[in-house]
């Protein structure tokens, strides 16, 4: 793996010797990756290269499948999330996720936003006013407040796809995660929606560490600070986005970026 040339910020996500198997099929090979805190890192590579798998290992949502085996470690903010004593609920409190297809819960807009917060605020009394405030703050932050403030009790599924995806980002905010994982968050959106969601993600930079998987090279280029290139389950190159795109260190990276495969 190439040594990162990025500025020395502390790592929010650090994988060490990460291997992952789906049944007998090995999808990740010895991945050692440091994702720096407070910036946007994009994960690029051809289909099936393991970028979604890597992303989905970072909150252990992969394990839903049941036949996934992982070795090595992933440290989130210095804590190994694969350590035996770790509670999944606490991992997911720290690590929020946005999916490829917007997947609002079959609840009202308001309940979608407060869902995560309610889960983690168990046992504590949260006043109605406080909860309303959280909902408003989250929706304001994703620039959705003005268009939905009069219909907070409507089903979230009635929103447009772009609005749904913004809502899916907004519902993470009250939980106050440190890391946001995004799995091709714009791929189901039209160009206008893509632009709006990209802008939103860019706005969230700094406050959160964002790791974003994308198929869209232009998106990685304009909307991330560092880029990781993966191929067949391995990290090939990791560096500042402009370096990776303008001056790739590896032949495979250059070939992929120039569109020779992928």
């Amino acid at each position: 793996m190439a040594e990162s040339t990025a500025a020395p910020r502390p790592a929010a996500i650090a994988t060490r010797g990460l291997n992952l198997w789906y049944g007998d099929f090995q999808a990740l090979f010895d991945v050692n990756l440091d994702v720096r805190q407070g910036i946007i890192t994009s994960l690029i590579g051809p289909s099936g290269c393991g970028k979604s798998t890597l992303l989905r290992s970072c909150n252990r949502i992969n394990e839903r499948l049941g036949y996934v085996r992982t070795t090595g470690s992933i440290e989130i903010l210095g804590q190994d999330i694969y350590a035996p004593e770790v509670e999944l609920v606490q991992v997911r409190k720290q690590v929020g996720m946005v999916f490829q297809r917007p997947n609002p819960l079959p609840l009202s807009i308001r309940d979608n936003i407060s869902f995560g917060h309610r889960l983690h605020a168990r046992g504590q009394r949260v006043s109605r006013a406080r909860r309303e405030e959280l909902v408003e703050d989250a929706l304001r932050k994703v620039l959705l407040w003005d268009s939905v403030k009069d219909r907070l009790d409507d089903p979230a599924i009635e929103l447009s796809l772009e609005e749904q995806q913004k809502l899916c980002i907004a519902r993470l905010l009250p939980v106050k995660p440190a890391v946001l994982l995004m799995d091709e968050p714009c791929s189901a959106l039209d160009p206008k929606g893509t632009e709006a969601v990209e802008e939103l993600i860019w706005e969230l930079r700094g406050e959160f560490t964002i790791l974003i998987v994308t198929h869209n090279m232009a998106q990685a280029r304009r909307a991330s600070e560092e880029t990781v290139f993966m191929l067949i389950g391995k990290v090939i190159e990791h560096g500042l986005t402009e370096d990776v795109f303008l001056n790739p260190q590896h032949r495979q990276t250059a070939d992929y970026i120039e569109g020779r495969y992928g």
């Binding site: 909150n59 609920v89 079959p106 609840l107 889960l119």
Partner: protein, 309 residues
């Protein structure tokens, strides 16, 4: 050449075997589809024709719904009080639902949300197999296993009673409810579960807050279908309820159900007689109640669908 002749010369009007096959299949599935309407109308017309003679002449609503004296063969004074039968059916069905609703919903949640791989497939097959057990076999179980068990356990003189019939009926209705409820849970998009889990919900929270609300329509349908099934079931209630005309004070009292009465007595009556017509009147009542249950289910499900989506 005219256009017709041109078309003919090019065989544009040729109808091959596929055309006839298509027509035949279309007709066949049309008949199959439309037959549901014909059957329901036909059955209703039949029951009504046989029963309405009684309904419009001898029928006394006060006696029918208010009296427990069902004496259709009395030499002195024949009376047709169906209250005990209605209460009998209602009490058995009620107990059956108390048994089967929690049981089958739990089973559906386990199969749909917890069990994986082979366990899940095996369980599904077994549950479907359970649903296929003939009701007379359940009746056997009621007679020969539950009966002595109830007598021994509770120290009551007779084990053929509401408890016996209700439990057996509940067990019998549970597999069908389980299957339908599980289908409803399975229809919930996996993206919902994933989203909730990624937000930090535990499995139980995912089920309670997301999956069950999302599957509400199907779950309501499953429960109502179970109620309908219990209501119309005959053999089990005939064999396990004790078949005694009686207003029950407790679950240990024997009762008699509407369906069991029809099954037991219809063969003994002269076609067209008063008794025969009275039994068909019970049939009309059953038909009306089942119809009402299904209609309610439909309205509820549609209502929920429109509102919640």
């Amino acid at each position: 050449m005219t256009r017709d002749a041109l078309a003919r010369s090019r065989d544009f009007d040729r109808r091959g075997a596929a055309w006839y096959m298509d027509r035949a299949v279309t007709l066949f599935v049309f008949v199959g589809g439309i037959s549901a309407i014909l059957f329901i109308v036909g059955i209703f017309a039949f029951i009504a024709r046989e029963g309405f003679g009684f309904v419009f002449t001898e029928f006394d609503a006060g006696e029918f719904f208010g009296s427990i004296a069902w004496r259709p063969t009395s030499m002195i004074e024949r009376t047709y009080g169906a209250l005990a039968l209605i209460v009998g059916t209602a009490s058995i069905t009620g107990l059956a639902m108390v048994v089967s609703i929690p049981f089958s919903l739990a089973a559906a949640v386990f199969i749909g949300e917890f069990a994986r791989g082979r366990t899940r497939e095996t369980l599904k097959v077994l549950v479907e197999l359970l649903a296929a057990i003939p009701s007379v076999v359940w009746g056997f179980i009621g007679l020969s296993i539950m009966n002595p068990l109830i007598i021994d356990t509770f120290g009551v003189p007779i084990g053929l009673n509401v408890l016996n019939a209700g439990v057996i009926l509940g067990l019998m209705a549970a597999p069908i409810m389980t299957t339908i409820a599980e289908d409803a849970l399975k229809a919930v998009p996996d993206g919902y579960r994933e989203a909730a889990e990624a937000l930090g919900a535990t499995r139980w929270q995912v089920i309670r807050k997301v999956v069950i609300p999302a599957a509400r329509n199907g779950l309501v349908a499953a429960v109502l279908l179970g109620v309908g099934r219990g209501f119309g079931e005959t053999m089990v209630v005939l064999m396990a309820s004790g078949h005694a005309i009686n207003l029950p004070d407790s679950v240990f009292d024997s009762v008699r159900a509407l369906t069991a009465t029809i099954a037991a007595e219809l063969g003994e009556t002269a076609v067209g007689s008063e008794h025969y017509q009275a039994l068909f009147t019970l049939g009309i009542l059953l038909f009306a109640v089942t119809f009402a249950i299904n209609l309610t289910a439909d309205v509820i499900v549609r209502g929920i669908r429109r509102k919640g989506r």
